[in-house]
Symmetry: C2
Subunit: 237 residues, 2 copies
């Protein structure tokens, strides 16, 4: 009961593929956007009833999300949304910073006209999104920009390989949305990175990227203080 009613919206969505996949996508979104709070229990039977399907596809969706680390299935006890693992977020930041620095160096060396224009167009779109208060759209464009960096470097697969790592960081980002990180600063950093890549200045690009990624989680301590219970201090939630 209670806060699971968010999931009722699932009934009003036409599944384009297998239902189990649609449920997994739906729940993943709900968790990453913090519509389902950490610690929330998700009984199979109840989910099945609310979403209007049988237990089987629900169960499969829960397994998918447990593989992604978004929830934890405890046999004979229950399934609950995991807390945001501080160690996981820190590890993710470390991985992402290391990878994206290497990516941006290679991008600065290889990027062609088309890729550079594409990057600048995305940043312009971000400005537009902010002007319309579309914060979610801003985050999507942020992903698109970093993906464009990887494309410019000639290794798009390096970006898709970070998908798992990115999930935990995204939970933090959505949690900090109201907090309104200084988007002007972020956009300025994006422009600095793009400019360095356009100028084929690898060192400057790397420095700009390092600064940018350090700032992403600057709001983390405040968030931990304000939303305890959303986070797991221990090694594994």
């Amino acid at each position: 009961m209670s806060s699971l009613q968010v999931l009722d919206a699932f009934r009003r969505s036409e599944p384009n593929g297998p239902v189990g996949l649609a449920i997994a996508d739906f729940l993943r979104n709900a968790i990453v956007r913090n519509q389902l709070a950490p610690g929330q229990t998700l009984p199979e039977a109840e989910l099945a009833q609310i979403m209007g399907v049988s237990r089987q596809p629900v169960r499969e969706a829960l397994i998918r999300l447990s593989e992604a680390g978004l929830l934890r299935i405890l046999p004979q006890r229950g399934t609950r949304v995991t807390g945001i693992s501080l160690a996981g977020v820190e590890g993710g930041r470390f991985i992402r910073q290391a990878v994206e620095r290497a990516v941006i160096v290679q991008a600065a060396q290889r990027a062609g006209e088309a890729e550079i224009r594409r990057m600048e167009r995305i940043v312009d779109a971000q400005v537009e999104a902010i002007r319309e208060d579309d914060h979610a759209g801003f985050l999507r464009l942020d992903d698109a920009l970093h993906q464009a960096f990887a494309q410019a470097a000639g290794i798009e697969s390096a970006w898709s390989g970070l998908a798992a790592v990115k999930l935990q960081m995204d939970r933090v980002r959505y949690l900090s949305l109201p907090e309104a990180t200084p988007v002007a600063t972020l956009i300025a950093q994006h422009r600095a990175i793009a400019a360095a890549v356009a100028a084929h200045d690898a060192a400057a690009a790397e420095a700009a990227m390092a600064e940018h990624l350090s700032e992403v989680l600057s709001a983390l301590p405040r968030l931990v203080a304000r939303f305890p219970g959303h986070f797991d201090r221990g090694p594994e939630g």
Copy 2:
């Protein structure tokens, strides 16, 4: 049928937890070690019969492995083992090199006496494993060593975050086992890295690690030539 008889060994293994998890572990091992060749079809019903369980846990295991990218489920058509994605392996190498270089730099700065001794003990164990022709054990110790690097750097979570990326690379490593990469070279590189960390020489450690990780996939072109069909040229299998 036919080559699925490898899976019959599952019946002679006591499941310590849920059967679905045990099946997933079993199949994951079989795929990574290339006991199940890419392209092999895995019908749910047949697997269930061979392994002596019902279809549901089999299905759940297949879903887990499809999330890991080891197999591909095509609705209403079948489930088959994925080919080793060349783009995925290259992306994995890039990610791992970027991360491990950053890790080893930090390890060289922070490592204490205990961590350094632990690293040297693992390398010694590798020499022992080679002397006994235990190549699988060598690979396990290789993972342990890299994990020890991460521990020494104070960010073990960075290593566990690479698990997904490592799977595809492991398939290549096991495929190259008979090929017998020059283990003497690998061990020499390990010693060089460990020595640089022990001397707290970050630059030397980074250089040694970069050289080491470049060599890991040196056998890849030969493997592609010898085992076509095990690999996917295209972007996604």
